[in-house]
């Protein structure tokens, strides 16, 4: 495997990690706010807080890891994406900052009011929407170069159906992933009403998630035929992903093995995400930038990969420890220890 392939695979994996845990976080915030709105707060708030409190900072690091890594391995992305993303990325930063800070202020600083719960909950939906714009831009067609300046065509971007399908996909999957996870978590906590409520949310968001995902493929056919053809070559991956989707749905429907249901869901998204990534290869930005053109020097690539392996050896045991203490610790999950 070439260095650039190793690099992009690792980064793609971390982006996937971010998407899953951030989805749980964003969705949880939304469900929390929604439950306050509908006076069902007593049912799920506790569950959500128990899960979120110890991990929120870790979520953020996944994102930092991804963007520092991509600029490290592919410095040219800084040039291309850096120039065009000024406005959309700045908006994402502001949303992330407000949400992160107010999470800490309310949880640790005891700043309690429904206003913040709403702000926190609903901003959590704008973040995936604004971040997903990057994926849309990477499909090409929204950028032109004028006197050697790179310019983003906002009008084209915001009137493209592709943009909006990706935005909606990001929202539906956030809610779906989060609901499935929280069903499992609530079940572990042996909290019957919460489990039932989250199960209902999971079921109702499953269909919109799968429909929007299929919608993207159709949109792509019009927008970027090259990419579309490459997607079709990988139809079998999407087929596996779809079967996994059905398995999750079935398990949840039958109220069986919520844990396995969630793991199957992660696999479903993983396979679809990698199928999408592979079909995007070798372009980082259609048609301007490929992973070979934008790659860093070989010495740096080797250094980064070594640093990555060393860092990973540190991280895995520590991640395992935090999971063991908070996610798989029955006493903690059920609220018997603080």
């Amino acid at each position: 495997m070439s260095y650039e392939l190793i690099g992009i695979s690792v980064l793609w994996l971390f982006l996937f990690g971010y998407i899953i845990i951030a989805s749980i976080d964003f969705g949880a915030g939304f469900f929390n706010a929604y439950s306050v709105l509908t006076n069902k707060q007593h049912i799920i708030s506790k569950i959500i807080q128990r899960y979120l409190s110890p991990v929120w900072e870790v979520t953020n690091v996944f994102l930092v890891f991804f963007f520092v890594g991509i600029v490290g391995f592919f410095p040219s992305t800084a040039y291309y994406y850096g120039t065009i993303l000024l406005v959309p990325a700045s908006i994402s930063i502001v949303l992330l900052a407000i949400r992160g800070a107010y999470y800490a202020f309310t949880t640790y600083g005891k700043l309690k009011s429904n206003f913040w719960t709403y702000l926190y909950g609903f901003s959590g939906l704008f973040i995936p929407a604004s971040l997903s714009i990057v994926l849309t831009i990477s499909e090409g067609g929204f950028i032109y170069i004028e006197d050697s300046r790179i310019i983003l065509d906002y009008l084209a971007l915001f009137t493209s159906p592709l943009t909006w399908s990706i935005v909606i996909l990001s929202l539906t999957s956030v809610l779906y992933i989060s609901a499935v996870f929280l069903t499992w978590y609530a079940n572990m906590a042996q909290d019957k009403p919460a489990t039932e409520l989250m199960r209902r949310y999971a079921l109702s968001w499953s269909l919109p998630a799968i429909i929007t995902a299929s919608g993207i493929i159709v949109e792509l056919r019009l927008h970027n035929p090259v990419h579309f053809d490459r997607l079709l070559d990988l139809w079998w991956m999407f087929a596996i992903s779809f079967v996994l989707f059905l398995i999750t749905l079935l398990l949840i429907w039958l109220r069986k093995s919520y844990g396995i249901a969630f793991i199957v869901l992660v696999c479903q998204f993983l396979i679809a995400f990698f199928a999408y990534g592979i079909s995007h290869y070798p372009f980082l930005l259609y048609p301007h930038l490929t992973i070979t053109e934008g790659f860093t020097s070989e010495a740096m690539a080797i250094a980064l990969i070594i640093a990555f392996i060393a860092g990973f050896c540190l991280l895995i045991p520590s991640l395992f420890l935090i999971l063991k203490l908070f996610l798989f610790n029955k006493e903690y999950v059920q609220g018997r220890i603080k």
Partner: protein
């Protein structure tokens, strides 16, 4: 917006974000060490006051961490958004420490999460305390790695520059550049020192507000001891930083010392104001001192600004920044020393109103020194982003919307700054030490 304006607004936005982040980041680097010391003393002496100290500091710390994290994420992205050319070129040589920094964050984040939620989970308090070690290491290594990047900007090496690209890169050489040792050491020492004095300020303030509990006196003694140790270290390392500048960035040293003519046995200019470009008024001249500072020899030759083309000379106002930094450093060192001597001799004056107010000012002053120091280092590097290789004006984004983003972020930092201050104040006011100690006794 033309390109010049894009550069201008990019600079302002970078300055703003960094200036804001560095407050929280410095506290984030230093405070875990203080928490560790307090908890360690508490366990060793079986003294619940120190344990409570550790607990209360941790509660405040988590708020500053939160703002540190979100503003740090902002800079990380902004460096790419505002300086795409810089990141593209420099990234080839200096991505390694930036990348390793994310592992340091990861490490810190994970163990901080565990530490916060396991105060009462371990039978053996020592085990809980051990969780702080990775937090402190993670925080300090973030500072070390990011400062390595910044050193590289001052003394880039470990590559060959051809046709606008960096080739034959040696990432290790780039990391261990000549500016690295003094910079990293000075940044770490000043972060520990600042955290200690900030916590001392809080303790002194509580005593002034009428809380006469022995708890606060213990806090003062601990923080001022640590503060004194690191302020002395900072001054010594700062002296080495000056010698480094003389050898590698003589234009920065000459500009910050207002040293216009190359000469032997150079004198050091303290204070003063500058008129008509190069007339120094109202200053104090210390004979030979600059030669000693720069080379450790009273007769050594010190390069002056006359050796550099005028377009390569940094703004001369950095002299004021340097003076502020050094004055604060000397001032708080003396303060810590007087307190400890007074304590040793059991003098009453160290708990007098006046002296306590002096201690209250030490924390904010240290923060001011941190800001002054960074502005000195960064402005002193101008007009270069990468000294000798890339000029700041050639590195900025060509985007047209930088001014709008500047207003957006001004709003964000206002909200975050005010809210974090309110939350911190409320946290400690609504839950005074006396009450918390009473609660603990009551079996809570």
């Amino acid at each position: 917006m033309d390109n010049e304006q894009a550069v201008l607004y990019s600079r302002i936005l970078t300055e703003l974000t960094l200036t804001f982040h560095i407050i929280y980041a410095t506290i984030g680097v230093g405070v875990p060490l203080m928490i560790f010391l307090a908890q360690w003393l508490g366990i060793k002496k079986q003294d619940e006051h120190y344990i409570l100290l550790a607990r209360r500091w941790t509660r405040g710390y988590i708020i500053t961490v939160a703002v540190g994290v979100v503003t740090g994420t902002a800079i990380g992205l902004q460096l790419n958004l505002l300086w795409p050319t810089f990141m593209e070129i420099a990234g080839n040589a200096i991505a390694l420490p930036l990348f390793m920094e994310t592992f340091a964050f990861f490490f810190e984040a994970i163990f901080l999460g565990i530490y916060l939620y396991t105060w009462d989970r371990f039978e053996n308090q020592r085990k809980h305390m051990l969780l702080l070690i990775p937090v402190a290491i993670g925080a300090s290594f973030s500072a070390i790695f990011i400062t390595m990047v910044n050193s590289f900007m001052n003394t880039p090496q470990g590559f060959e520059f051809a046709n606008g690209y960096m080739v034959n890169v040696n990432p290790i050489l780039a990391m261990f550049n000549p500016a690295m040792p003094t910079k990293v050491a000075h940044v770490l020492a000043t972060a520990y020192m600042t955290a200690a004095f900030v916590l001392a300020s809080i303790g002194a303030y509580r005593i002034l507000k009428g809380s006469n509990h022995i708890y606060h006196k213990k806090a003062l003694l601990l923080t001022l001891k640590v503060g004194l140790i690191f302020s002395v270290a900072a001054a010594i390392i700062g002296d080495f930083a000056g010698k480094f500048l003389a050898a590698y960035q003589p234009e920065k040293l000459a500009a910050m010392e207002w040293h216009f003519e190359t000469e032997e046995a150079a004198s050091l200019t303290l204070f003063g104001i500058l008129q008509n470009g190069d007339e120094v008024k109202y200053s104090i001249e210390l004979p030979y001192a600059l030669s000693i500072l720069a080379h450790g020899n009273p007769n050594a030759e010190v390069i002056g600004l006359d050796q550099f083309p005028s377009e390569n000379i940094p703004p001369l106002y950095i002299h004021y920044l340097f003076n502020i930094m050094v004055l604060v450093g000397m001032g708080v060192t003396v303060l810590g020393l007087v307190y400890l001597i007074g304590k040793f001799l059991r003098k009453k004056f160290i708990h007098s109103k006046f002296f306590l107010w002096l201690i209250v000012t030490s924390g904010p002053l240290c923060i001011i020194a941190i800001e002054a120091g960074w502005w000195l280092a960064e402005v002193g590097r101008q007009p270069w982003v990468l000294r000798g290789i890339l000029r700041t004006e050639d590195a900025a984004t060509t985007s047209n919307q930088v001014d709008l983003m500047l207003y957006l972020f001004i709003g964000l930092y206002l909200i975050l700054g005010i809210a974090s201050a309110i939350v911190l104040i409320r946290m400690f006011r609504s839950n005074p030490v006396e009450r918390e100690l009473a609660d603990q006794k009551g079996g809570g």
